[in-house]
């Protein structure tokens, strides 16, 4: 456990020691704000809630999270520091989980910095702050799921561009699977697959959280999804660490 905390601290500090953190946070905040108020029709809806914001978060994370995860292992391979990290007396899962938790905490920081949106809706009306809180929790779950997938992909390659593109594709698949375009298309033609698409969809799961419902099914889905990809990540590192 101590090793995991050490890796976590180093990784999280690493984001802020380079421009990565500032670029990521600024772009995320600008785009989240802009999309919420323009495409999301924040004012025209006349409702004091953050529904429009929560709708766009998965689509923003879709390409911002892979930008974080692409370097997680690919960069270690390129610099050769993976040899240093994995010859320290840590279990490999400690390195994997430490890196993941640091990236997750970083996403939580970025999400927390959207607090002016919460203040705005509270000034304009009487939103249900409990629903807003569960919505944020849902967004954090989406970030965790994307991070787990992206990190596992990063473990498989030395090339950061490949890690990025594959992670975007995987996250897009998870996000788009539940979108009306896909599910309607599938339910008309291949109804069996429509249910499957809805079952693996991240947006479908997030929908529950943004309506204020934390269902055990959704929590178990996200938890097992992350656990599976962290496990796959550990295996991938073990098998391919020296490549």
């Amino acid at each position: 456990m101590g090793g995991m905390v050490t890796v976590f601290r180093r990784e999280l500090a690493g984001y802020f020691a380079t421009p990565v953190a500032y670029v990521f946070i600024v772009i995320f905040l600008v785009m989240a704000g802009a999309l919420t108020f323009t495409l999301g029709n924040f004012f025209a809806r006349g409702q004091a809630d953050l529904q429009p914001f929560f709708t766009f978060v998965p689509w923003l994370f879709l390409f911002l999270v892979p930008a974080l995860t692409m370097r997680l292992w690919a960069e270690e391979r390129r610099l050769g520091t993976i040899e240093l990290l994995l010859t320290l007396p840590l279990a490999q899962w400690e390195a994997v989980v430490g890196k993941f938790l640091a990236a997750w905490a970083f996403c939580a920081i970025a999400l927390a910095l959207t607090f002016p949106l919460v203040i705005t809706v509270n000034l304009l009306g009487n939103p249900d702050n409990g629903v807003i809180l569960t919505g944020y929790l849902g967004c954090l779950m989406v970030a965790g799921a994307f991070l787990a997938v992206g990190a596992a992909i990063s473990a498989l390659t030395k090339n950061q561009v490949i890690a990025f593109v594959l992670a975007v594709a995987a996250c897009f698949f998870l996000t788009a699977a539940g979108s009306p375009v896909v599910t309607e298309f599938l339910s008309q033609r291949i109804p069996q697959l429509a249910d499957l698409a809805r079952a693996i969809s991240i947006t479908e799961r997030l929908g529950g959280f943004t309506r204020g419902v934390i269902s055990a099914r959704d929590v178990v889905f996200f938890a097992s999804f992350m656990a599976f990809f962290l496990f796959a990540n550990t295996i991938a590192i073990d098998q391919r660490k020296a490549d």
Binding site: R9, T18, L79, G80, T81, E83, L84, P89, L90, A242
Partner: protein, 243 residues
């Protein structure tokens, strides 16, 4: 005298290519083993397997009696490893990097501070303690890697080309450092600089095309031919070219 490093019939294959072929040797406390060979002979691969970074295809490696494959974490606790090229995290300061390595080895508080200070004193890094590693010259970077390997005063030191890239004065200092630590540790250094073997090593193992071709004291090795260079060439060149 008990052997702190035991390598038995270690073999590593990459597809059809055998990088390390049935290598056996052991190193006792007080010995400095020079691991010699031309580039691509399998030196780094052997050291990576010994450090637990690469998994051997067959054979075993033990550090202080702990098998590096079956009990990796206890084995790594006894090991100070300087990987080839001395990789470090570029954005970290020298102190930050050494503290990270110390924490990963379970040191905290004042013990951590003392360890870092001692390692920096041994490798003359005090002058650059707050500089990011990426701003340092090659010689300093190598010394940072060396300090990280020495930090926890390990019983076994495995140094892959510790003096590569250093100027003659720095080489002299590193050799003196190795000699000063030699009585209490088992040390393996890989090199292709023959003078280094004569200067610091008590024993030399010559490897060529993945196989051990000589295991003797530097004096015995030198006695085999007109010069150390000639002996090295005769041992490591394929028969067809040696003539």
């Amino acid at each position: 005298m008990t052997a702190l490093i035991e390598i038995e019939r270690l073999t590593k294959r990459f597809g059809a290519f055998t990088a390390v072929d049935d290598v056996t040797f052991s190193v006792a406390r007080g010995e400095v083993l020079g691991f010699l060979g031309p580039n691509g002979a399998g030196k780094s691969t052997t050291m990576r397997m010994l450090a637990g970074f690469m998994t051997p295809t067959s054979g075993t490696a033990r550090i202080c009696g702990e098998d590096v494959v079956d009990r990796p974490v206890p084995a790594k606790r006894h090991l100070g490893f300087l990987p080839e090229g001395a990789p470090t995290y570029p954005e970290m300061t020298v102190t930050g990097f050494l503290q990270f390595c110390g924490r990963a080895r379970g040191f905290h508080g004042s013990a951590l501070g003392d360890r870092v200070a001692h390692a920096m004193a041994m490798t003359q890094l005090e002058g650059v303690r707050l500089q990011p590693v990426e701003t340092l010259s090659k010689g300093f970077k190598r010394r940072v890697g060396l300090a990280a390997a020495l930090l926890h005063d390990p019983a076994v030191l495995v140094l892959d080309e510790p003096t590569d890239g250093l100027d003659p004065n720095q080489k002299h200092e590193v050799r003196n450092l190795i000699l000063s630590m030699a009585p209490t540790k088992a040390i393996v250094i890989s090199t292709h600089i023959l003078e280094e073997v004569a200067a610091v090593c008590t024993r030399a193992v010559v490897i060529a095309r993945g196989r051990v071709v000589a295991d003797a004291t530097p004096a015995e090795l030198a006695a085999k031919g007109p010069s150390m260079d000639a002996v090295f060439r005769a041992l490591t060149m394929p028969e067809s070219e040696a003539a």
